[in-house]
Symmetry: C2
Subunit: 202 residues, 2 copies
Amino acid sequence: MSYSSTVQELIDQLGKLPGIGPKSAQRIAFYLLKSPSEEAIRLAKAISEAKSRVSYCPRCFNFSEYGRECEICRDPKRDHRFVCVVEDAQDVEAIERTRQFSGRYHVMQGAFSPIDGVGVDQLRFKELLGRLNVESVEEIIIATNPNLEGEATAALIHKYLQPLDIRVTRIASGLPVGGDLEYADELTLGRAFEGRREVVEE
Amino acid sequence: MSYSSTVQELIDQLGKLPGIGPKSAQRIAFYLLKSPSEEAIRLAKAISEAKSRVSYCPRCFNFSEYGRECEICRDPKRDHRFVCVVEDAQDVEAIERTRQFSGRYHVMQGAFSPIDGVGVDQLRFKELLGRLNVESVEEIIIATNPNLEGEATAALIHKYLQPLDIRVTRIASGLPVGGDLEYADELTLGRAFEGRREVVEE
């Protein structure tokens, strides 16, 4: 291997990104080396600024900047009576794109999967219950992924919320089972929102 | 769109990279936001250091650091009588991996393609002729890509070098090793026929 250590380090770091194999990493590295300095520096700056500025919203655990509440939680036009529970921040984006939901969110930051070391304590259950004690929420819409972990998370949320007098709904599985909410198209996701139903005892 | 401007800037910058679509850019951005700070910062640093340190070798126009000659040109063990002409720095890597060539390189930094605005002046022709005046080169091995632009570049190099008393060769085109004759395209198979060689006892 005749790459200089600087080039090799760049290829190695790019290769750690999800979906970037060794060939893509090399291709991107050479692209960056050939591109105008400003462009590459702008990318480097975007990464470091995102890391220094972006943290989690103290209310809903979506991404937010400077430790403040996120833009959705701060928006007075959002309907505080509805809280949509999702696994990840990407899912907030996906739902926002449908323009079907005007309430607020709660990001669990994962899905229940003890085999992967993700139990109740790793998720934002406690914080969700804390919110329900102080916020006057009328409906919780569970929009976890329609796969094994997502369903388990949904079942747990339902169990935890049963003692409280709150309507709990689950978005309809218009989504293909086993799919990933992040990649659903707006129409399907919008339909799933429309078709949400009461969670009932099985 | 509810991304904060910092997150959006990160996604935009990532989306400019080759082979990275909007979905991948978003996925990588969220991955970086969730990953440990050191890892993301290390990537940002790798990019900016590569841009500040890496430039072109003044002899062969491969990438090199701190404006010095590249490692291959500086290596006293490389055979200076052989110069392999390639289009891009990636091609140097590909040939190095074969461990079949111990000479030096000349990177044209592109291929002749007037329709894309790449003429003789955009390539490193002048610098190649300059080298041949001062270096005692015995053979130029043309290893440009076996496509339209690469062949045009090869033909031009051959034309420019004809007045000089230097052997000019072209790497063979033919069936890839492990390939299937049945699935080879006509052009490749034609080349393989043209380039046929005596079967000799080994």
